[in-house]
Symmetry: C2
């Protein structure tokens, strides 16, 4: 592994960015001057930014640097799609502490680059600096859209159908799974350490050697994720749903409101209701939930509907369309109608399987 | 003081951003959706981003939250000016730990807003989140320029004059001053604590009380900055030199290359030389240095030229102009010609007062 101090800031940036090729006509100048330069004569410019902090938004015991780079880019690209735009450029700021080596940065950039290549996005600038402790990532994504194509959160109308792409709650279940396996690992380490201490006290050298060997074997601990691969993928390999945006365009469907689901369905639906000055009714039985999500929720003794409503990190698209689009939506694979928009005075309601009504809350929906 | 948890993320953002008024025609939508929306039909879009980490880029024992907000905005605005552009929009990401209260955030935002008001910049979006420890700030600034007006780092030509605005090294001397006063303070605290421990051991209650009183008085420690106000101002209240950009435009001067001085004159000059494929000669006797900078360097037994070359955080503009602009430049108050561009093979040279030549280095120029 190579120390970053061996290269220094300028050489590190050169090293990481030397292979970056500009793909978009709107990108006039990328990395290398005080600013990046872009040109958008016929389109609106969309801009979004997100900050990810170690220990708050990610845990490096779960996610490697390459997946982290990929996810950091994707969550920002997702915001451009959520306005019905096309992502075009990315600015990347990164602060790292002394733990990190040149190879870690290479892995992070290769993840970024994979996400950008998938959606033909140019990395045009950023900042690489040091932090006292932990890693901080700030990404800004720039996109374009024709003025008339932009979809805001504020356009939903009474009777519009509420649609959601993919399925919900899996990324959250993936996180729960990773946390459980981490706990299992540390419990095993703790137990062995306790036994080791006791053995050392009693000077049982044979047992000491045996326990030390067991501890070192634990370093290669491979948690068992069999049958739960989809949950891990949803947590670690976030995808922005540009494919859904393309399908909607092909089907000539123009959503009246749209948002991406980063904080959980309830929270995002409430954003749409607030900004569109409307209410909503969604149906528990219509919520798209993957089989693995349901199994994992049961294992953890959690309510799977709560996970789907409040889980977060799904990065699916939540959008509304006028009733006449009903049949066109049905034709689109991977989109589910989960309810409809109502008058504001009716509030935001979930209708359960047994026909009870509950008011949606931004955090921690609790049916009891 | 108000706990942030009392408001929650969404209400905090509402609270901080509710008074923000859009000032620019290019800003179509500010805070409140997945993205900000801008429109730049006739101009190039400039974009720059900077990350500031607590303990690396700033120390909250020196700088208050309002000045920190002001500085964070200004250093990004400065990058737009350095391309000869006009700053227009700002995206603000902020991660804070549990120490911070709503009032701290208000102070930070009021500083941001002051900087933005000065240059008519709209705050259009961002992200507010928590950090495990410390504060992280990431700002993205968007600006505009006509294509033919943009000044890159790469346009300097042999014989061009090298110019710099304002004076150099003062921000660095301001930092040294603040660090010295902090050291003085902690030395006093340490000494009193040692004496207190000894007095407690000897059970000298009268002395214990006296020392405790002295320690509590130290809490109101007011360092003596008399005669050094300019150095503090340069460190704590960074200004972007948009006034110089306006003067150059009025005088009909179009620089061939330009950069803002964030890492020190030497480092920035080497960027211009590298990207313009040229060399340079600058003259020690021409470097603009304020009287307070010189006095402080002497007090600290530092070489004032080294401070001016490598100090950093000046945020002055460094630019080159063709020889025929010589007289027009002389008319502009606050701009100094410090040397000229040469052929690449001649390298980057400093000519000292006693006519010796030294090769400029990016960090830590040492004439011995």
């Amino acid at each position: 592994m190579t120390d970053i101090s061996k290269l220094g800031e300028f050489k590190l940036i050169d090293h990481l960015t030397k292979d970056i090729q500009i793909q978009n006509q709107s990108t006039k100048l990328g990395i290398g001057d005080d600013c990046a330069v872009m040109h958008y004569p016929d389109k609106e410019v969309l801009m979004t930014t997100d900050m990810l902090m170690e220990g708050v938004h990610f845990d490096l015991t779960y996610i490697d640097m390459q997946h982290l780079g990929y996810k950091s880019a994707m969550v920002n690209i997702s915001d451009i799609f959520a306005m019905n735009g096309t992502p075009k450029q990315l600015l990347v700021s990164l602060a790292i502490d002394k733990r990190f080596k040149v190879e870690d940065m290479e892995a992070f950039y290769s993840g970024l680059q994979m996400a950008c290549n998938k959606w033909h996005v140019d990395i045009v600038g950023g900042d690489t600096t040091s932090s006292r402790t932990g890693i901080a990532i700030s990404i800004t994504c720039i996109g374009e859209a024709k003025k008339e194509d932009i979809v805001y959160r504020s356009g939903a109308k009474d009777t519009d159908l509420i649609c959601v792409s993919g399925d919900l709650g899996a990324a959250y279940m993936g996180l729960m799974l990773l946390e459980r396996e981490k706990d299992v690992y540390y419990q095993q380490v703790d137990e062995l350490n306790k036994k080791l201490k006791a053995a050392q006290k009693e000077q049982d050298n044979q047992l000491v050697e045996h326990l030390k060997k067991k501890l070192s074997e634990l370093g290669n601990f491979q948690p068992d994720f069999a049958g739960k691969e989809y949950l891990l993928q949803r947590q670690l390999q976030t995808e922005a749903r540009g494919d859904i945006i393309e399908k909607l365009q092909t089907a000539n469907i123009h959503p009246t409101a749209m948002i991406d689901i980063s904080d959980g369905l309830s929270s995002e639906l409430l954003h749409i209701c607030k900004q569109s000055k409307c209410g909503c009714r969604i149906y528990e039985k219509n919520l798209p939930i993957d089989y693995q999500t349901a199994v994992m929720a049961e294992e953890l003794n959690m309510n799977v509907t709560t996970c789907a409503l409040n889980g977060g990190e799904d990065y699916e698209l939540l959008f509304t369309v006028p009733i006449p689009d009903h049949e066109k939506i049905q034709q689109i694979e991977g989109v589910r109608m989960i309810g409809h928009i109502t008058k504001e005075s009716l509030g935001a309601q979930l209708i359960t399987r047994d026909n009870q009504e509950f008011t949606l809350r931004a955090q921690g929906w609790n049916p009891l």
